[in-house]
């Protein structure tokens, strides 16, 4: 599989989809104008990766400081496909702002919904 690396912009995150090293990372703000268009190739890649192409260990780092409601759905779809996917050892880290009293809300939404994935909260 080809890896995907996308640079961060003011309204879209840095993205690493690295099949060679089993690393999946989203970092920054995410509210692109056409959210579904933005996520479509990423979801395609993830579907392929979690369809028998995972490394022995896969680490997923979600470092999103803000995302819009359309992204909420795309992230839901990504967690959904990971939960249903084939993997050996999967570590998912959700980074949150410990200075923000609402910082854990999004983590709780996804960790409660996808209990099997055992998503970990990591303060930054």
């Amino acid at each position: 599989m080809e890896n995907i690396f996308i640079e961060q912009t003011e309204n879209s995150p840095k993205i690493i989809l690295d099949a060679d090293n089993g690393l999946i990372e989203f970092e920054g703000k995410c509210y692109p104008e056409n959210t579904f268009d933005f996520f479509e190739p990423l979801v395609d890649w993830l579907e392929q990766y979690f369809d028998g192409n995972t490394k022995e260990k896969t680490v997923v780092n979600m470092k999103l400081t803000y995302f819009n409601s359309a992204t909420t759905q795309s992230l839901f779809d990504i967690f959904d496909l990971m939960q249903d996917g084939d993997y050996n050892d999967l570590e998912i880290n959700w980074f949150y702002d410990s200075d923000n009293e609402n910082g854990l809300e999004d983590f709780e939404d996804y960790s409660d919904e996808f209990e099997e994935l055992n998503i970990k909260a990591v303060a930054f």
Partner: protein
Amino acid sequence: MCATDEKLNICLIVDDGVIYEFHKTINEHSIIQTAKSIEEILTKNNAKASKIQNVYEILIEVMQNILNYSYGNVDLPDNRREATGSISLSYESDKDIYVLKTCNLVDADQKEEIQDRLYQIQDLDDRQLRKLARQKMRSREDNHEKGAGLGFITIARKCSEPISVKFVAVDNGIEQVLFKFII
């Protein structure tokens, strides 16, 4: 405060004193710049981090809503758009609340849909809103090319009072919609 020309009016009012104002058409660039400006101003005014985050997030949601659903929005090359609307943000220090007001035009057939969506969530607490959001994500019942139909739920979770909306008929088949969000 509603713009009727092809400009977006944004002003920040603190206890009735305008301290920030500019005019722009709503597009991806102006949403980014407006959100950054508001975030910087609220930070300089020592607003709480959670308030800043909530105002910032609601502002982006409502501007993207106007961009996507406003009457007369214009499709540009590369699947981009421009729209017209107005936004104002004020702060009431005695209550420690921010009041975000928006105004734009919509097709009259959107009026009932907006009212229905707000009616569905107006009496829900955060736990119920969260449950409804998950239900919509699981069922993908409101998915469409511009969003997931979760915008009002997302906004409502960040507001301290129910979202209020008023419609004013301005022409045959066109309504002016005025939202008020208390944060």
